[in-house]
C-alpha cells in the first residue's frame, strides 16, 4: 500500500470527525423542544400539498447520460495528456481522432435536439 493513500485515508477520517463533532456539539448544547407546528415544512407559507415525490422531467436523465459518456472519455484522456511530451506528434494525432469521434457524437446529440433543456 502506498503511503500517500494512508494520508488520504487519515484525511478522510479527520475530515469526517471534525464536522461531525461540530454537529454533535451543537446537538448537545442546543435545546430540543419539538412541536407539530414548529416542525411543519415551510412551503410558501401555506400547508404542504401532496407528496415530496414530484415527477422530474426526462431532461435530467438525458443530460446525466450524455455527461456519463463524456466523463468516461475524459478519464481516458488523462493518461494520454500525461505522456504527450514524450510521445510527440503521433500521440497528438491519436488524441485528436479520439476527441473528434466524440465531438461528432455531441453534434449528433445537438442535431437531434437532445441538448435543449426546455
Amino acid at each position: 500500500m502506498q503511503t500517500e493513500w494512508i494520508y488520504i485515508g487519515l484525511f478522510l477520517i479527520v475530515g469526517i470527525i471534525i464536522p461531525a463533532a461540530a454537529i454533535i456539539l451543537a446537538a448537545v448544547l442546543s435545546p430540543y423542544k419539538p412541536n407539530p407546528i414548529k416542525d411543519s415544512t415551510y412551503e410558501c407559507g401555506i400547508e404542504t400539498v401532496g407528496s415530496n415525490w414530484v415527477q422530474f422531467k426526462a431532461q435530467y436523465y438525458i443530460f446525466a447520460l450524455v455527461f456519463l459518456v463524456f466523463d468516461v472519455e475524459t478519464v481516458f484522456l488523462f493518461p494520454w495528456a500525461m505522456t504527450l511530451n514524450q510521445l510527440g506528434l503521433f500521440a497528438v494525432v491519436e488524441g485528436i481522432i479520439f476527441i473528434g469521434i466524440l465531438l461528432a457524437g455531441l453534434a449528433y446529440t445537438w442535431r437531434k435536439g437532445m441538448l435543449e433543456w426546455a
Binding site: Y61, F98, G105
Partner: protein, 172 residues
Amino acid sequence: MTVAQIIFLITAAVILGSAAMVVTTRNLVHAALWLIVTLFGAAVLFAMLNAGFIAVVQVVVYIGAIAILFIFAVMLTRREMNDTGPGLNKGWWLSAVTSALTFGGLVWLLQGWDGLSKVAPALGSEFDAIGALANALVSPEAYVLPFEVASVLLLAALVGAVYIAFQRKGEE
C-alpha cells in the same frame, strides 16, 4: 495479521454489508445510497492494491456519474418512494441453492490454488504505474487500437442514449 489485512477485512465487511442493504432496503433512494457505499469500498480496495488511478476513476465514474444517473432514474420512473409487496418470490429456494453451490464450488476450486497465499512483489518507489498505463494506451506497439475503439464505443453509447431519450420524450 498485518495492518493491511485488518483494513482489507473491514473494507470487505463494509462492501458486503452495504451490498446486502442495497437489495434488502425498501426505500429506493436508500438503496442507491448504499450502492454508493459499496462502490466507495471497491475504490478503497483498489487504492490498497497500489492502483491509485483505478481507485480515483472508480470514484469519478461510478460515484460521480453512474450513481447520480441512478438517482435521477429513480426520481424519473417511480412515483412511489417505498417498494411494496413481498421481497421474495416462490423460487427463492432455487436461487439460494444455486448460489450456495456456486460458492461451495469456488471454495473447493480455489483451495488448491497458490495465488491466494502469494505476496505481490514490492514495487520500487520509482515505479510509475500511471506512466506505464499511459504509455501502454498511446504507444503504437501496445493498445492504440483499443484506445481508439473505446472512443467509438462511447459514441455508440451516446447514440444509444439519444435514441432511448428520444422515445422517452415522445411518451411525455
